[in-house]
C-alpha cells in the first residue's frame, strides 16, 4: 500500500519577522494511506493547526519535506495542488444568498475555464459530491439558512467536488451537536473507505476519534508526534500519557456511542482485561460483531488472546487455519 501524502523529518512552526524561527514540533515523519481515516488529536496549542496547514501546503515547512504522490508538495503550483488536495476549514464561510449547489460548484474552480463556466461533466461531479454526503436535498437552499450540520456536509461536498486524493479537515465537528458529530465522522469514515481517499482531520472528540479513526496521530504539547492504531495507542498508554500531562484523565471504559455496523459478520473473542476490551473495539471498528459467549469458538472466525501484559499473543482461527500474531495491528491488517 503506497501512501498518498507523506512527510519526512518535518519541522513545523513560524518564521518570525526577523530571522528567528520558532519551531513548534519537529522530526515529524508520517504518511496518509489511501482508504484510511486519520485523526489528529492533542491539546490546544500543541500545533495541530500548524501541522494541518503545513501538510495542506498553506504554510512552508521550517525543515524537512512533504511529498504528495511523487512530488514535493510545497513546490506544486497552487492550481495543480488544488486538483489533488482539498481542505475544509473551521472558519464559517459567509457567502450570502449563494445556494448550496452553487457553493459546492465553486469546488470545480480548478477544472473550469477562465469564465468559470461548468460543463455537464462538472455539474455531474458536483451532484455526485452532494449525493455522497447526503446533501442533495439541500441543493436549492441558500447557504445562510443551513444548520451547522447541513453546512458542514455542504462544505465537505465542496471539497469533494475538487476530486482530491487527499482531504484535510480542520475540526470538522467543532460546532456540531453529538448526533451530527457522529454522523459527520461516520460519513468521513465511509468516504475514506469507499473512495480510497486519504482523509486527515483534527478533532477534540477523543471518544469518536478512537472509534472511527483507522490511525491516530497524537500530538502532545512540545511533541513528539505519536502515530498508531487507536486501540494500540490506548493499550500502550500513549493516549493516557498525552492527556494526563494536561490534567485530563482518559477514561478507557467510557463509551457514549455504541456504533452498530457489522458488515463482516460475527467473530468470536476469548480473553481478559484491557487487551480483550481494545481488541473487541478494533474488531468492531473494522466491521465485526464481537461474540464473547461460550459458543464463540464454533464461529468461522475466532480470536483468542493469550499471555499477560507486555507479551500478549493473538491466536486467530478461521476456515483456512490458525495464525498467531504479536500485535493487534497485525490482527486487524490480516482480517480486513
Amino acid at each position: 500500500m503506497s501512501s498518498l501524502l507523506k512527510s519526512h523529518q518535518l519541522a513545523i512552526g513560524y518564521k518570525n519577522a526577523g530571522r528567528a524561527m520558532s519551531t513548534v514540533v519537529d522530526q515529524i515523519t508520517v504518511a496518509l494511506q489511501p482508504g484510511e481515516l486519520t485523526c489528529l488529536i492533542g491539546p490546544n496549542g500543541a500545533g495541530k493547526s500548524t501541522l494541518m496547514r503545513t501538510l495542506a501546503g498553506m504554510q512552508p515547512p521550517l525543515a524537512g519535506t512533504v511529498t504528495l504522490g511523487e512530488q514535493a508538495l510545497h513546490r506544486l503550483p497552487p492550481a495543480v495542488l488544488a486538483k489533488q488536495l482539498a481542505v475544509v476549514l473551521t472558519e464559517r464561510v459567509e457567502v450570502g444568498n449563494l445556494s448550496a449547489y452553487a457553493l459546492v460548484a465553486l469546488g470545480r474552480h480548478p477544472y473550469t475555464d477562465w469564465r468559470g463556466r461548468l460543463r455537464q461533466a462538472d455539474e455531474a461531479v458536483v451532484r455526485q459530491a452532494m449525493t455522497t454526503v447526503g446533501a442533495d436535498q439541500l441543493a436549492a437552499r441558500p447557504v445562510s439558512e443551513l444548520s451547522d450540520g447541513e453546512r458542514q456536509k455542504v462544505m465537505i461536498a465542496r471539497a469533494l467536488a475538487q476530486e482530491p486524493e487527499v482531504l484535510i479537515l480542520d475540526e470538522p465537528t467543532a460546532f456540531l451537536d453529538l448526533p451530527r458529530r457522529v454522523e459527520i465522522m461516520q460519513l468521513l469514515h465511509n468516504l475514506a473507505r469507499e473512495s480510497r481517499r486519504a482523509i486527515l482531520l483534527s478533532t477534540h472528540d477523543l471518544d469518536l476519534a478512537l472509534r472511527m479513526a483507522d490511525r491516530l496521530w497524537l500530538l502532545p504539547t512540545g511533541g513528539p508526534l505519536l502515530v498508531g492504531m487507536p486501540e494500540e495507542l490506548a493499550l500502550n498508554g500513549a493516549l493516557a500519557q498525552t492527556f494526563q500531562s494536561e490534567g485530563v484523565e482518559f477514561d478507557a471504559a467510557v463509551g457514549a456511542f455504541k456504533i452498530q455496523r457489522h458488515p463482516c459478520g460475527p467473530i468470536g473473542l476469548t480473553g481478559h482485561g484491557a487487551a480483550a476490551l481494545w481488541t473487541a473495539r478494533a474488531l468492531e471498528r473494522i466491521g465485526f460483531e464481537v461474540i464473547t459467549d461460550n459458543n464463540s469458538e464454533q464461529l468461522p472466525f475466532h480470536v483468542r488472546i493469550a499471555g499477560v501484559n507486555g507479551s500478549t499473543r493473538w491466536h486467530v482461527t478461521r476456515t483456512s487455519g490458525r495464525t498467531e500474531y504479536r500485535s493487534l495491528a497485525e490482527v486487524v491488517e490480516n482480517l480486513v
Binding site: 495542506a56 498553506m58 503550483p77 497552487p78 492550481a79 495543480v80 495542488l81 488544488a82 486538483k83 488536495l85 482539498a86 481542505v87 476549514l89 472558519e91 464559517r92 464561510v93 459567509e94 457567502v95 450570502g96 444568498n97 449563494l98 445556494s99 449547489y101 452553487a102 460548484a105 465553486l106 469546488g107 474552480h109 480548478p110 473550469t112 477562465w114 469564465r115 468559470g116 463556466r117 461548468l118 455539474e123 451532484r127 442533495d136 436535498q137 441543493a139 436549492a140 441558500p142 445562510s144 475538487q162
Partner: protein
C-alpha cells in the same frame, strides 16, 4: 436494499439566465431613449429614433440638441454608471464589506486632491506651473483628477504587494483617503471664494461635462475596464470563500487582488475624473442585483450590475434634469436620494447585508 429515491431533487440552474439579460438590456435601451427625449426641451420619441437613424426631425434644432448635448451625456451616464457599479461590486467582494464602494481605496479623494490643486492653487508660482502644464480648462481638470487618483492607486498597489491581510489594506486605503481629504480641506481654507465654488461644482457630479473630444479618451478607457471586469468573475467567486479557501482552490490571491484593484480603480478613477465623485451608485447597485437575481455568483452579478448601473445612472440624470424645467439638481443629490433608501430597505427587509458578509 432499495434506497428511498422518492424525493425528486431539483438541481438549481447556475449562471446567468438569458431572459434576465434580455430584460436588463431592453430596460437600458428604454432608459437611454427616454434620456434623449426628455429635458428642458421635449423631443418626441419617434423623432429621437429618426434622428439617430440619420433622418430629418420635425424641428431642425432637435438634431443639434441631441448630438451636441444629450447623446454625449447619455453615453457618459451609461459608461460611468456601469463603471461605478461594477467597481463597487469588486470592492465589496474583495474587502468582504457590504458598505465598500468604488472609492474605498481613496481613488476619489485622490482625484479631488488633483482637481483641488489645479482649481484652488492661488500663488503666482503655482498658477504659472499649472498654466504651463495646460491644466486649466475642462481637459486640465480631467488630467489633474486622473493624476490624483493614479497617485493614490499607485500607493495602494505598492502596499497591496506587501500586505497579506485584506483588512489591513482596507484600513490603509481609508487612511490614504483621510489624508488627501485633509489636504483638500487645507487648500480650500486658503483659496478664493470663486475658486471654491468651481470646485464644489465639480464635487456635485455631472454627466454633462464630457465633450465629444473627451469621449475619445473616456470611452475606450471605460470600455477596456468593463471588458477586463468580465475576466475576473471566476477569481471573485473564489474570493467569496475567503483568502484561504481561494488559495486552496488554486487561486493566486495576491495576483488576483492586484488585478481586481487595478480594474476597479481604473473604472472608478476615470469616471470620477470626468464626472466628479458620484456617490451611492457603486454601493447600492450591486446589492440591488444580489436581491433581484438572488445570487452571489459573479458570473451573474458582473454583467447585471453593469447593465443596471448604467440604467440607474441614466434615470438619476433624467431626474436631476427635472424634465420640462430649466432647473438642474446636483447629480449627487439624486443618487443619494436613490441610494440611501435602497440600502436601508434591504437592511430591514431581509438582512441581506448581514447575510452576505461575515459580520
Amino acid at each position: 436494499m432499495i434506497k428511498s429515491t422518492a424525493l425528486k431533487i431539483t438541481w438549481p440552474q447556475l449562471g446567468l439566465r438569458r431572459m434576465a439579460l434580455a430584460g436588463l438590456i431592453a430596460t437600458l435601451i428604454g432608459a437611454f431613449l427616454l434620456s434623449l427625449a426628455l429635458g428642458s426641451v421635449q423631443i418626441p420619441l419617434d423623432n429621437v429614433v429618426r434622428i439617430l437613424l440619420g433622418g430629418t426631425p420635425d424641428k431642425a434644432t432637435w438634431s443639434d440638441i441631441l448630438f451636441k448635448f444629450r447623446l454625449p451625456k447619455a453615453l457618459t451616464a451609461v459608461l460611468a454608471g456601469g463603471a461605478l457599479a461594477v467597481s463597487g461590486l469588486q470592492m465589496q467582494t474583495l474587502f468582504r464589506n457590504p458598505l465598500a464602494d468604488p472609492y474605498i481605496l481613496g481613488v476619489s479623494s485622490g482625484a479631488s486632491l488633483g482637481v483641488a490643486l489645479v482649481m484652488l492653487s492661488t500663488g503666482a508660482a503655482a498658477v504659472k506651473v499649472v498654466g504651463s502644464l495646460g491644466l486649466y480648462g475642462d481637459l486640465g481638470l480631467v488630467v489633474a483628477a486622473s493624476l490624483g487618483s493614479m497617485l493614490v492607486l499607485g500607493l495602494v498597489l505598492l502596499v497591496a504587494q506587501r500586505v497579506q491581510s485584506t483588512l489591513t489594506l482596507l484600513i490603509l486605503g481609508l487612511m490614504f483617503g483621510y489624508l488627501t481629504s485633509a489636504l483638500v480641506s487645507l487648500l480650500i481654507y486658503f483659496s478664493l471664494p470663486e475658486r471654491i465654488q468651481l470646485f464644489s461644482l465639480w464635487s456635485a457630479g455631472s454627466f454633462g461635462g464630457v465633450t465629444w473630444s473627451q469621449q475619445r479618451v473616456f470611452t475606450p478607457v471605460i470600455v477596456t475596464g468593463l471588458l477586463a471586469a468580465h475576466l475576473l468573475p471566476k477569481a471573485l467567486n473564489a474570493l467569496l470563500l475567503g483568502d484561504i479557501y481561494a488559495r486552496s482552490l488554486g487561486v493566486n490571491v495576491v495576483q488576483s487582488r492586484r488585478w481586481i484593484i487595478l480594474c476597479a480603480s481604473l473604472l472608478a478613477g476615470t469616471a470620477t475624473a470626468f464626472c466628479g465623485p458620484i456617490g451611492f451608485l457603486g454601493v447600492a447597485v450591486p446589492h440591488l442585483c444580489r436581491t433581484l437575481f438572488n445570487t452571489a455568483d459573479h458570473r451573474v452579478l458582473v454583467p447585471t450590475t453593469m447593465l443596471l448601473g448604467a440604467t440607474i445612472a441614466l434615470l438619476a440624470d433624467l431626474i436631476a434634469q427635472l424634465p420640462g424645467s430649466q432647473t438642474i439638481l446636483p447629480l449627487n443629490v439624486v443618487t443619494s436620494l436613490f441610494g440611501v433608501p435602497v440600502i436601508i430597505w434591504m437592511l430591514l427587509r431581509q438582512q441581506q447585508l448581514r447575510a452576505s458578509f461575515a459580520g
